[in-house]
């Protein structure tokens, strides 16, 4: 491990690290545009030049293309270095349009940031001399290009080639006429296209979904995990609630990837990136509904829970727990599933519990990030034991089959919209034979129409929770804002219901529930909420997978 000095501070760095990364260990940021930790090094922006003293020789070197070696002394802030940066910035800015007031990137633009730090010069270029290039170019279904703002760092080009393996962007022309563009006839339409917007250090590539929506300085950022598939990519939720008159109350403005070396590195897929629209969708369930009382709106959650408790108690007394079936969901968090299991399996001895239904919707899968299983927590449901048990317990398929034949007096369903699985005739039969259906869902759908009672669920951005991804990594989400209406996290319903049914637990918060999982569940043994950190922890019986660079199997070279 080389020992080096950066701005007089000694640091020992891992082998094979370049100076930009090494400086980061000391929280020193060497300015750069073209360099990105996840992409190949091209060294063309010339912003990361630093003073290097090595083997008795002084030189100006590139932070990105110089690997730390024992004995190096680096200066990142000398007058010469500052004047080099200033000059490079001025080159960038000579033709840069004065778009900042209308540019989405303003506020998080590296041209602006570095200008405030190193530039602060008056322009030496007449406005009339500014070169004009193409603006508002529709490069793909999700991204708009403004090539006048582009600084030709080629991060986006390299991302498409090296990570996605598709050659969808190129720099055409040479010299100062060079321009970023897509080949006419092709589109930037890969499943990861949104990442180029994150990569763009300036406002050249903007996201159609976010364009002109909010100034970034109004946004608040909450770390979370994508619940769009079983990978559980780490994300940040960028949200704003103070101006609800805009965009009909849209609270989440965008999702950004959050680095997690073992899960998603710097990237997320577009399926996940734009999945947040469901959170503020018009068909969110805001209130409990009681269809039994002719859709009497205004029924209280407590009234529904009391009714459910009474029915459950009566049926168990009458027919035993075999006439109850619980269809949980792999979209639920570990806490939800733990409480569900605790109440129904442990306390009420209901054996017909499952989260899996045959034919659940699958998405496309690739060898980069996307998983076919769209449920974020199937692994967690398995580990917690939200499964049929006791030898008699029926699995999801059997429960569905039995329900159709009127085998169950009470059906408790989370999330699954059975109207998508059963024909009209079967549904009719199920409805006729089942005494009581309690349905928990975040959105209204066919099932919320036919269930007796419906409870509204809070969604991932509205609550703190943990999910276990396909590898067995447990990761936390945080609550960005309050749930809509009376929507409530699932585990709380089970908690209340349990109390009514004589199973008193002492959990006030999801943190406490998780810590209880750590006490009671084998695969979570000893794990505590606070230990999960922002990168998650593996299930105790799941081995840490080997590191794999997130990229397609056949990357293309940078140029």
């Amino acid at each position: 491990m080389p020992r080096i000095q950066i701005d007089g501070k000694p640091v020992e760095v891992p082998d094979g690290l370049n100076l930009i990364e090494a400086a980061r260990l000391l929280n020193i940021e060497i300015p750069h545009y073209c360099y990105h930790s996840g992409l190949s090094v091209v060294g063309s922006c010339r912003m990361c030049q630093i003073e290097l003293e090595f083997n008795g020789r002084k030189s100006i070197a590139l932070g990105c293309n110089t690997l730390a070696a024992d004995g190096m002394q680096i200066t990142t802030t000398s007058d010469e270095i500052r004047s080099i940066r200033r000059a490079v910035l001025e080159f960038y800015l000579q033709h840069h349009p004065l778009d900042c007031p209308i540019c989405d990137d303003a506020g998080e633009c590296d041209l602006q940031n570095y200008y405030m730090e190193h530039g602060l010069h008056d322009s030496r270029v007449d406005l009339a001399e500014k070169k004009h290039k193409h603006k508002v170019i529709d490069v793909g279904p999700t991204v708009v290009l403004d090539s006048e703002r582009c600084i030709l760092c080629t991060r986006c080009v390299r991302f498409c080639r090296e990570i996605v393996g598709k050659d969808q962007l190129g720099v055409y022309g040479h010299g100062s006429d060079a321009e970023l563009m897509n080949v006419p006839g092709t589109k930037l339409d890969n499943d990861y296209a949104g990442n180029v917007v994150d990569l763009c250090p300036v406002g050249a590539l903007t996201d159609k979904d976010f364009r002109f929506k909010r100034r970034v300085w109004y946004l608040k950022r909450t770390p979370s995990v994508c619940t769009g598939c079983s990978r559980g990519c780490n994300i940040s939720i960028d949200w704003e609630t103070s101006r609800s008159y805009k965009d009909s109350g849209r609270r989440i403005q965008r999702l950004k990837p959050r680095y997690n070396k073992m899960v998603n590195e710097w990237w997320i897929c577009d399926r996940g990136r734009y999945s947040y629209h469901a959170v503020d969708a018009p068909n969110r369930l805001l209130m409990p509904i009681s269809n039994a009382e002719e859709r009497e709106h205004g029924v209280s959650i407590n009234a529904i829970l009391a009714r459910a408790a009474a029915k459950i108690e009566a049926i168990i007394d009458q027919n035993g727990s075999a006439s109850i079936a619980v269809l949980g969901s792999a979209h639920s968090s570990n806490e939800d599933l733990f409480m569900l299991k605790r109440l129904f399996a442990d306390h009420l001895k209901v054996q017909n519990i499952d989260v899996n239904l045959p034919g659940e919707a699958n998405g496309s899968e690739d060898q980069i990030l996307m998983k076919a299983d769209l449920a974020p927590n199937r692994r967690g449901a398995q580990a917690i034991g939200a499964v049929p048990w006791g030898g008699e317990g029926q699995n999801g398929e059997a429960i569905l089959e039995g329900a159709r034949e009127g085998e169950f007096e009470i059906l408790i369903i989370v999330d699954h919209d059975l109207t998508q699985y059963l024909g009209e005739k079967a549904l009719h039969k199920l409805r006729k034979h089942t005494g009581y259906i309690l349905y928990l869902s975040s959105h209204s759908n066919g099932m919320s129409e036919i269930a007796d009672d419906v409870l509204p669920l809070a969604m991932w951005a509205e609550r703190a929770a943990t999910y276990t991804n396909f590898q067995g990594r447990i990761q936390r989400t945080s609550q960005a804002f309050d749930p809509l209406g009376l929507a409530t996290p699932e585990w709380k319903y089970w908690y209340e219901l349990a109390a009514m049914l004589g199973c008193k637990c002492d959990y006030e918060t999801p943190q406490e529930v998780f810590n209880a999982i750590g006490e009671h569940t084998e695969s979570f043994k000893g794990l505590r909420w606070d230990d999960l950190g922002d990168q998650g922890l593996m299930l105790t019986d799941a081995p840490e997978p080997a590191y794999r660079k997130i990229q397609c199997p056949n990357p293309l070279p940078a140029y």
Binding site: R46, Q49, R124, A178
Partner: protein, 417 residues
């Protein structure tokens, strides 16, 4: 004509049909290849090193040393002949390609033998239609004669030679830009390190990239011996060089002279002096990328790498452009910066943006609205490009620009509005 002339490389240029293999062989072509192949490859490299042969493409790097950089045990290896002659002022390789193509082929093959390469590519600039035609014919003939191909002269060594045409890009004369271009890409010079393509070159393999003239000297070195070759020039500058003389001399042309020939001798004795009875004003000694030298600075200047460098310029490709007192340096500045702005590949920010900016400023003086501040700005911009880029094109524009401004500032000031 001076008795000092030493026609070594160019001695067969004037022979009729020297491009034909039978004629060339009558004049000794390929005999040195045979000699080289009777030696161990390392011995050939050692001889070339000993001779003091330096790269005639511009950088003046020792050829033998370069060959020695090839890593052991990494195969296949390639030789690329840099025939992308495009440094303004330089026009010597054209003559070799057209008038003695077999000499170049022989030199390239000897190099390939020395580094155990299996393929030679001749990267020839797109504008050289006729030279490419001659060269292709020479390759075909040499193949028929068994100097190229499988198991050359029963040595067990096979080597093929191919032409690769460029399509108009000065930057492809930079050795890594040339390699990128050969790989079917834009000719973006590669980031250093790795510093030498000898380790990581064409298709990631060890590759020797040498200029046409450099390789053409190799058979001659074997012929007369490294000591005699070295003795022709000055210490550390072995042999002769093809000086491309252009501009305001009475007799422009390509002159083969010993390294270290005096500038005045080249201009006045060989070049016949300045045209139209005008006075010498300045000289660009090594292609447009070199610092301009004033008439006074040319006094007693020997044209070898060290001497020209000591006078604050560079010998480069030994392309001497002579400028008389009718020329305005601000006008020269336009031609110069326009060229580099046109040829900047666009990869590095300072060069891409800076060259374009310099052209705009250069035009201001000719157009009559330049200011004193513009002069300072130009100097500062050139300084901001100098050495701040991946390849040497940044320096190639910065150095002459700064020298024009330093040495002829009064001419710019005279044009200030």
């Amino acid at each position: 004509m001076s008795t000092k002339q030493a026609l070594l490389l160019s001695r067969n240029f004037a022979k009729t049909k020297q491009a034909k293999i039978d004629v060339a062989m009558k004049h000794g072509a390929y005999s040195m290849l045979k000699k080289a192949m009777s030696m161990k490859p390392d011995e050939v490299t050692a001889i070339v090193k000993e001779s003091g042969l330096r790269g005639h493409g511009g950088a003046g790097f020792s050829a033998g040393t370069k060959w020695g950089f090839i890593p052991k045990d990494k195969f296949p290896r390639y030789v690329c002949v840099n025939a992308d002659e495009s440094e303004p002022g330089t026009c010597k390789d054209r003559l070799i390609l057209e008038r003695d193509p077999h000499l170049l082929l022989e030199g390239a093959l000897i190099c390939a033998w020395a580094v155990r390469a299996e393929r030679i590519y001749i990267y020839i600039r797109g504008e050289y239609f006729y030279p490419a035609k001659v060269m292709q014919q020479a390759v075909d003939d040499a193949m028929k004669a068994g100097f190229i191909g499988e198991n050359i002269k029963n040595s067990g060594w096979s080597c093929s030679v191919h032409l690769h045409t460029g399509a108009g890009a000065y930057i492809c004369g930079e050795e890594t830009g040339l390699i990128e271009s050969m790989e079917g890409k834009k000719g973006f010079p590669r980031l250093k390190p790795p510093f030498f393509p000898a380790a990581v070159g064409l298709w990631g393999q060890p590759t020797i990239v040498n200029n046409v003239e450099t390789l053409a000297f190799v058979p001659r070195i074997l012929e007369i011996g490294p000591d005699k070759f070295a003795a022709l020039g000055t210490p550390r500058n072995g042999g002769t060089a093809l000086y491309s003389l252009s501009g305001h001399v009475k007799k422009p042309g390509v002159y083969e002279l010993p390294m270290g020939t005096k500038m005045k001798e080249l201009i006045y004795e060989y070049g016949g002096g300045i045209r139209n009875g005008n006075k010498l004003k300045a000289v660009i000694p090594g292609g447009s990328s070199s610092h301009i030298l004033t008439a006074e600075e040319c006094e007693d200047l020997p044209l070898d790498f060290e001497s020209v460098a000591a006078r604050g310029s560079m010998l480069g490709s030994a392309a001497v452009i002579v400028i008389d007192d009718t020329v305005s340096i601000p006008q020269l500045m336009i031609w110069l910066t326009r060229f580099y702005a046109h040829e900047s590949c666009g990869q590095c920010t300072p060069c891409r943006e800076g060259t374009d900016w310099l052209v705009r400023l250069a035009h201001r003086f000719a157009d009559g609205w330049g200011t004193r501040k513009d002069i300072d700005d130009m100097f500062e911009l050139a300084d901001s490009i100098d050495g701040k880029t991946i390849c040497a094109l940044g320096q190639a524009v910065a150095w002459p620009t700064k020298s024009y401004l330093q040495k002829y500032r009064h001419e710019f000031e005279a044009l200030v509005k």
